[in-house]
């Protein structure tokens, strides 16, 4: 139930609903999209970025908050750690227990390597768990990996590394099959045909889903499989610094118990960074749809040992974050809501865009509606637009919402809003880190040997914007891929003497560049406490 201040606008939305359902908005031209993005997308606000003064991407621009962490001090100095006291000695060390890390662990285990997952929270506390809408794969008759490639390449502004994107789309059907064989339940018709929908920017209906718990269903299954295999999981333990060997190759990490702060050494023949995204950095003050630990740790760890970043200046703002009520501000409202037919409506009940433009375009369009056009609804904590969810039941029949998007129904119902009968208020929320560490097609970083990366910490797979459903896909495809290759590589690795010399080297660079900072990184967790004073 919405209070009185929303009623006028709500009436306009209801009055126009029938006509709005029938109305087929035109998609924007390439030129219209470019102009819109330049004017309204947060990535294009130059004043929100700083130039990196040190490190492998010196001279490039990244968000202020990320720049501070990339140039920050280590949490330790080399003297704090006795590298001869090795607590864990493994073939493949996987940092991060989300979809990518778990997929990598399973494949490394398959390949006979001794793998271990270290994660700062629990296995499954990850953005994978929260992905709602689905996972893309071109497995229908009217579709092909080539069409999938073109959709993703165009949607990412023709900036993706082509060989990575080709791998993503060509391995997609097998990834779905792999998950299905592990027991992941996909939405299927009685004859086994996958029930698929569109996502923003797709030209074929290739979004596979498990209701709107797609990521949760995948993540809990992967977690179950990791445990079944007896792969060690060291939880509530973060990696705070990578360890190299004397030859400059990745050879482990310094670990920290998140509760006792004890430091430990993990030695490994290969290391996989699978630390996920950065929503909790709250770039440009945006709320986020991300899990609690999304603080760009992997980018920091990699950067400090010299691994290159790619597209670290591009973030994805999901067009439909919950804007009301305040308790769920920024929470994800899955794109599947629009896939199922709900349209975006402004304060006066007008459809102001095609609901399935790519995410960056949709986010920019909503920001324009709420700023220069002044057509947003005032929520008390900012402007927002309507997402007219009752359209879904009108189009798909009664019961569609409960069957296809039960999580959305539950989330709003907790606050007395029945999305079957009432529309919801949305505004963009920080959702995805498009950029990350630069890898080759085997998943290894392009310039630090034996250091692999998978999942959201990778940059370049999607270019400068990612399509819905390609991230769940990428954590599976590139997670598995990293696991396979890290295991394979580990067979021929002999780790020489361990060192943390890179910390002092990085300190010297910072000093030489004249950077004054007290910041330490990786960040590990955001601080949301409100303390007036503390010791």
């Amino acid at each position: 139930m919405y209070s009185s201040e929303f009623q006028e606008s709500l009436k306009a939305v209801e009055a126009a609903r029938e006509a709005n359902i029938a109305y087929e908005p035109v998609r924007m031209t390439a030129k219209e999209k470019d102009d819109l993005l330049a004017a309204y997308h947060p990535d294009y606000k130059k004043e929100e970025f700083s130039e990196l003064k040190i490190g492998p991407n010196k001279g490039e621009f990244v968000p202020h908050e990320l720049c501070e962490l990339l140039e920050a001090h280590s949490r330790i100095s080399a003297e704090d750690v006795d590298l001869s006291d090795v607590k864990y000695d493994v073939d493949v060390l996987i940092i991060g227990g989300g979809g990518a890390g778990s997929s990598a662990a399973i494949e490394a285990d398959n390949a006979g390597a001794k793998a271990m997952i270290v994660t700062k929270l629990r296995i499954g506390d990850a953005n994978t768990m929260m992905a709602e809408g689905g996972i893309q794969a071109a497995d229908k008759e009217n579709d092909s990996p080539a069409i999938h490639f073109l959709d993703a390449f165009g949607g990412g502004h023709f900036a993706a590394k082509r060989e990575l994107l080709a791998k993503l789309v060509c391995d997609a059907p097998e990834a779905i099959q792999w998950l299905n064989n592990l027991g992941v339940e996909f939405d299927k018709a009685p004859d086994g045909t996958m029930i698929t929908t569109h996502g923003g920017g797709t030209s074929r209906k290739r979004m596979h889903a498990a209701k709107d718990y797609s990521g949760a269903e995948i993540m809990r299954t992967l977690r179950d499989e990791v445990i079944n295999r007896g792969i060690p999981i060291v939880d509530f333990t973060s990696a705070i610094e990578l360890i190299l060997d004397k030859d400059g190759k990745a050879a482990g990490a310094v670990l920290m118990n998140m509760e006792t702060k004890e430091l430990m050494v993990a030695r490994a023949k290969t290391v996989i960074i699978a630390t996920g995204g950065a929503g909790r950095m709250h770039y440009q003050g945006f709320p986020t749809s991300n899990h609690y630990g999304a603080t760009a740790d992997g980018l920091v760890l990699g950067y400090r040992v010299g691994a290159k970043l790619l597209y670290a200046d591009t973030l994805q703002y999901h067009p439909t974050g919950a804007a009301f009520p305040q308790q769920i501000f920024g929470a994800l409202v899955t794109e599947k809501v629009r896939s199922l037919g709900a349209k975006l409506i402004n304060r006066d009940g007008k459809v102001f865009m095609h609901p399935l433009e790519t995410r960056d375009v949709a986010a920019a369009s909503i920001i324009r509606e709420c700023s220069d056009r002044d057509e947003g609804v005032d929520t008390g904590s900012g402007k927002a637009v309507w997402l007219d969810t009752p359209m879904i039941e009108a189009i798909g029949g009664e019961g569609t919402i409960e069957k296809r998007i039960p999580a959305m129904m539950r989330m709003f119902m907790s606050y007395g809003i029945d999305i079957r009968k009432e529309p919801i208020l949305v505004y963009p929320t920080l959702h995805y880190q498009n950029g990350g560490l630069d890898i080759n097609v085997n998943g290894m970083t392009t310039n630090v040997e034996n250091l692999f990366v998978a999942g959201e910490a990778v940059g370049g797979i999607h270019g400068r914007n990612r399509l819905m459903g390609n991230s769940l896909l990428d954590v599976i495809v590139f997670g598995r891929n990293a696991g396979v290759h890290a295991a394979e590589t580990s067979k021929n690795v002999t780790v020489s003497e361990l060192t943390l010399d890179h910390i002092a080297k990085f300190d010297a660079e910072r000093e030489a560049a004249g950077i004054k900072t007290d910041a330490v990184s990786p960040k590990l967790l955001p601080n949301y406490t409100r303390r007036k004073s503390e010791i």
Binding site: L150, R162, G215, H291, Y292, A331, S414, Y528
Partner: protein
């Protein structure tokens, strides 16, 4: 000015704004959370919480990230619960009643008290899905338990020591792998890719200049 309410976090009183979730209230009070906080959006089950309103006898359960504070609320979080998770090889087990008897025999000791259902933070019919599991009706168990976030509150209330979320997890994997209909078009496509059916098409895209790809993208046909 916010309206303030009294909450008792682990018994200690704090005054917090009434529009906060329990999780935000803990942070407002000064807790830097490490345990008991995961996705903050109701999907991961990290923040299982038990509460009681002063003067009320009933213990209630919820997810701290999805529940607003109330005045005079006593809050205890349950960041970890020792669920029993049996290990098995998914390739070797079969979707029969025997597998439940083998791995989770305690489900047959269910006394029907329904405490699990009453405590479910997702409002699922937990006792019903356990009944389905007992009978080897894995498809129904999978459907009934689908929205489970594995927070473990049900198990904390169970006199029979059942780990309901793990029973349901097994049922869903059995259903997904063995019982749900096979997808012919998926098998075909995987085979086509292995046979190299699309290699030429992909190769052609890899080699094209960006301008040509832009042309193709901007004029591609979009399925209705």
């Amino acid at each position: 000015m916010d309206n303030m309410v009294n909450v008792y976090l682990f018994g200690k009183q704090y005054s917090v704004p009434d529009n906060l979730t329990i999780m935000r209230a803990m942070e407002y009070a000064g807790y830097q959370l490490v345990r008991g906080c995961g996705c903050r959006n109701g999907f991961c089950g990290a923040c299982a919480t038990i509460y009681r309103i002063k003067g009320d006898k009933e213990l209630k359960t919820c997810l701290a990230c999805q529940t607003k504070v109330e005045n005079n609320m006593y809050v205890a979080t349950l960041p970890f619960f020792p669920l029993v998770k049996e290990v098995y090889n998914i390739e070797e087990i079969k979707p029969t009643e025997q597998i439940m008897m083998q791995l989770y025999p305690e489900i047959y000791a269910c006394v029907g008290c329904n405490a699990c259902t009453k405590s479910c933070t997702q409002s699922l019919n937990v006792m019903q899905y356990i009944a389905y599991a007992q009978r080897g009706e894995f498809e129904k168990c999978a459907e009934e338990s689908f929205d489970c976030v594995m927070c473990g509150v049900c198990s904390s209330r169970c006199p029979a020591g059942i780990s309901h979320p793990q029973v349901a997890m097994l049922a869903r994997r059995l259903n997904g792998k063995y019982l749900a209909p096979k997808t012919k078009h998926l098998e075909n496509r995987v085979k086509e890719i292995k046979d190299g059916t699309f290699n030429d098409l992909i190769e052609a895209l890899m080699g094209k200049p960006v301008e040509e790809l832009q042309e193709l993208y901007n004029n591609r046909e979009i399925e209705k």
